[in-house]
Amino acid sequence: MNGEVILRVRGVRKSFGGVHAISDMSLDLAGGEILGVIGPNGSGKTTLVNIITGFVKPDSGEVFFRDKRITGLQAHQIADLGVTRTFQIMRPYHSLSAFKNLIVPLNSPRVRRTRGGRLGDRDAVAIDILEEIGFERDAYVPYKTASSLPLGYLKRLELARCIALRPEIIICDEIFSGLSMAEIVTMVPLMEKLQIEGITIMMIEHRLRELFRLANRAIVMNFGEKLAEGTPEEVMGNDKVREAYLGTEAA
């Protein structure tokens, strides 16, 4: 972890017709860390992801990536800079096979640039990435159409699409949700590996136990605002957090 702040969110607000999805949100993301963002349903976590990655324009406030203002840029331009995301509701290319799903990001301008012009054997690169994230090689799985893959593989495919871009930041929107314990157990080392490779990760998550195994730092959101920030222990010790997030019984 190098500690240098690479993503800054400043005073972001967003409301959808009278509902304040995010009323005032600021955060810093340091290079190399894993930041967990938690909060009850409807606290504005996914909207925050959408704003950072350019899928939704904020009403006010700004997002900076490496001192470059990225609010107002198109989603594909932000992804091109290296800020990628997974979707909470998986968005695979249903009609394409799993490894062909990766041919799409492998043809992006960013990959062409970083890999230097023409890719070699793209199919092999795609299969390698799939193996890296836990698709069995030669087990027909990479050749199955995405529409026939089970949920666990689709979640991995979401992540693979980000990895294929060789990003600087991956924002995972509830990548553990809906997975069995056994599947999560295999995903955790994968996230650790990405961190070691120098990728900064921001995880929106409901599965706190698994998240806190990974996260260096956590932010709690409630009603579109930051409720608390700190190490996982600090955050969970915070009375306001226990009340808002876990409910009063847990206190």
């Binding site: 899928f55 990628t84 695979p92 960013r110």
Partner: protein, 336 residues
């Protein structure tokens, strides 16, 4: 349990599995499996002019134009996710450009057709460019409007001799050139498109069809690729238009006729959506059929509709999906 409750079980033929990889080259059997349907189509199409009478040869030419439009429609709808009902605009743009170049500047068809193909496609793409952000039905409605708009402009401004049109354009030297030009272009376009959709650019377009947000999240500008796709589809349509104006030696507002937008869709439904070859076959079936039914007068449209409804209700997958399944898979009934 009710007697006779069965389900159909389908299994890929071993031959199909083998021919999907390099094993396709391992023996004549595999090669023949792959080549037969393709050769059947190419040879079949190229033989048609030799067996048809003069009248039906003409019908074949216009069927070729519809085939190009249907191919473009299928490509845009099933591989890019743009349902484009503006086929008539492609025909009109191509037809008016080549016709005008021929009538006003006296350039020969050998020159005007290629120019009109490219220029018409450029214009069509520019016109559709602002609507590319729209999806699904919204794009369909807006694209449907453009041919109508073009007609109103031509009539209102009385350009290109307004409603009368321009006649006595140069035509092709003989019926053989007419037929083999369009058939050649149809066959070439068909195989080019089949190739394209499996290349990287085609995969990105199919990605846009399946999930445009995910493509954006991969750092790819989807508008660029949609623009390219529309340009490719309108190339085919504009060629058809340019060819049409020289086929009849005439240009007029009926080049923007609704038929050019609607019949390709019917051909696609009949032939099988998403197969590319299906819509081409569909056009070669529907166009002669609509000619043959001409004898029924007004009833023609009713019969025509009945056939279409029949297909939509009883074989919604279309002809080609059905044939491909029969060719590639064993089927047998199994007691449940």
């Amino acid at each position: 349990m009710v007697a006779g409750e069965r389900r159909r079980e389908r299994l890929d033929r071993g031959l199909k599995v083998r021919t999907e990889s390099l094993y396709a080259l391992s023996s004549w059997r595999e090669m023949a499996y792959l080549l037969t349907p393709r050769l059947l189509l190419i040879v079949g199409l190229l033989m048609l002019p030799l067996v048809l009478s003069m009248y039906w040869q003409r019908v074949l030419c216009s069927a070729g134009i519809y085939a190009l439009l249907a191919l473009g429609f299928d490509f845009l709808a099933q591989y890019v996710g743009l349902v484009c009902l503006g086929g008539a605009f492609f025909i009109g743009a191509g037809g008016y450009i080549s016709g005008a170049l021929n009538a006003y500047l006296g350039w020969p068809p050998a020159l005007t057709i290629p120019i009109a193909t490219v220029a018409g496609a450029l214009i069509s793409t520019l016109v559709l460019l602002p609507c590319l952000r729209l999806r699904g039905i919204y794009f369909a409605i807006v694209s449907f409007m453009f041919p109508l708009l073009a007609v109103f402009i031509i009539v209102a401004l009385n350009v290109f001799r307004g409603t009368e049109g321009i006649s006595a354009l140069d035509t092709f030297p003989n019926i053989w050139v007419e037929q083999y030009l369009i058939l050649g272009v149809v066959v070439f376009s068909l195989f080019a498109m089949r190739r394209l959709v499996n290349e990287d650019i085609g995969l990105i377009m199919r990605g846009i069809r399946d999930n445009d947000q995910a493509v954006r999240a991969s750092g790819i500008n989807i508008t660029t690729y949609k623009t390219k796709a529309v340009f490719i589809a309108s190339l085919m349509g504009c060629f058809g238009g340019a060819y049409l104006s020289h086929l009849y030696g005439w240009l007029g507002i009926s080049l923007f006729a609704m038929d050019f937008s609607i019949l390709p869709i019917a051909a696609t439904v009949l032939g099988g959506m998403g197969t590319l070859v299906g819509p081409v076959l569909g056009a070669f079936i529907l166009t002669p059929m609509s000619e043959a039914l001409r004898g029924f007068g007004q009833l023609r449209v009713v019969l025509y509709c009945l056939i279409l409804i029949g297909f939509i209700v009883y074989k919604p997958e279309g002809l080609m999906n059905y044939l491909q399944r029969k060719y590639h898979q064993f089927e047998h009934w199994e007691e449940v």
